[in-house]
């Protein structure tokens, strides 16, 4: 009887381990910084409700966020960002679909910090562009943290910066990604 119970427990454990191939969050943090170097005016925003799903088996990784979810300190910046640049009503979401290209070198089941190379396509403002960056994947206590920084050129996504504010707004925004992923339980 004890052996049977042990066997059932073992099967349940193994199937649980196998089901934890996908990890996700709905509270990922995306930072946006388009401050011109040496400018006293910080043009930055944060989105605290980004979605991220990582399949540790295949390395497939996806991000998605609502443009209106970016919070700016100054109201005018937020209005300009949503109305004039990102056109958030017309293009409400930004989506990244990619893959961790060195996925086989990451041992997700072992706690540690791993370098990750990510390549994929980002769709923003109705334009899709190839994005490639390096980041970190930290595996700790059954959770996975994804950290990355990359630059985003506004012109690549047909976001036009008016001449009037060209000296206040950088042509390239620094994007930071910080997502703590939990196992996806089906």
């Amino acid at each position: 009887m004890k052996k049977t119970l042990f066997l059932f427990a073992l099967i349940a454990f193994v199937s649980n381990v196998h089901s934890q191939e996908k990890y996700f969050t709905k509270a990922g943090k995306l930072g946006f910084d388009a401050t011109v170097p040496k400018s006293p005016e910080n043009i930055d925003a944060i989105n605290k409700a980004a979605l991220c799903v990582l399949d540790t088996k295949t390395g497939d990784i996806q991000f998605s966020c609502l443009m209106k979810g970016f919070e700016f300190e100054r109201a005018l910046m937020m209005e300009h960002f949503n109305e004039n640049y990102a056109e958030s009503d017309k293009y409400p979401k930004t989506v990244f679909k990619g893959v961790v290209t060195n996925n086989t070198s990451i041992n997700y089941s072992k706690d540690g910090t791993y370098s990750a190379k990510v390549k994929g396509q980002m769709t923003m403002h109705g334009e899709t562009k190839e994005v490639e960056t390096e980041g970190k994947i930290i595996s700790k206590s059954g959770k996975i943290q994804v950290l990355a920084n990359f630059n985003l050129v506004f012109a690549d996504y047909k976001i036009v910066i008016p001449q009037l504010v060209a000296d206040k707004l950088a042509k390239t925004a620094k994007i930071s990604v910080d997502c703590l992923l939990e196992p996806l339980k089906k």
Partner: protein, 146 residues
């Protein structure tokens, strides 16, 4: 007489310039309005809001987009990853209401799943279930109503 006219015109021009500069400065530095001070456009319970979106999220999205709404319901979960997120919903539906709290908001008490709670925030958008992790009604800059 001519000198007097010039003085008047110059005074008006200076006044307009100063007022314009003050307006431009205050407009540039205008902070985002706190949710507490905004007028509520819609007030309803969480179950009704979820039902509306499940029926037709396109119509519901345009109805509520950028509007201040008050939602009352039973808390499904409280997440504390990047500031508080209070989630409304139940196991019968794959749609939830996710309320990210205003950055100035400090929770003065412990909020748990199962508690009744009323939230005021801005409806920001709808995340359809594209990634197989359920769909979400996103409310940002939320505060808990006393």
């Amino acid at each position: 007489m001519f000198k007097k006219k010039i003085i008047i015109v110059l005074s008006i021009a200076v006044t307009i310039t100063v007022l314009g500069a003050i307006y431009a400065y205050s407009e540039f530095n205008r902070k985002t309005k706190g949710t507490k001070d905004m007028d509520t456009a819609f007030s309803l319970n969480a179950t009704s809001l979820i039902s509306e979106f499940e029926k037709d999220f396109i119509i519901s999205n345009s109805k509520y987009l950028n509007k201040v709404i008050e939602v009352e319901g039973t808390v499904k979960s409280v997440e504390d990853q990047t500031g508080y997120t209070i989630v409304f919903g139940d196991s019968s539906s794959s749609t939830s209401i996710r309320c990210t709290m205003d950055s100035s908001f400090k929770l003065g008490f412990k909020l748990k799943a199962g508690q009744l709670c009323s939230i005021k925030g801005i409806y920001t958008g709808f995340n359809a279930d594209d990634l197989g992790i359920g769909s979400d009604i996103i409310i940002s800059k939320s505060i808990i109503k006393p």
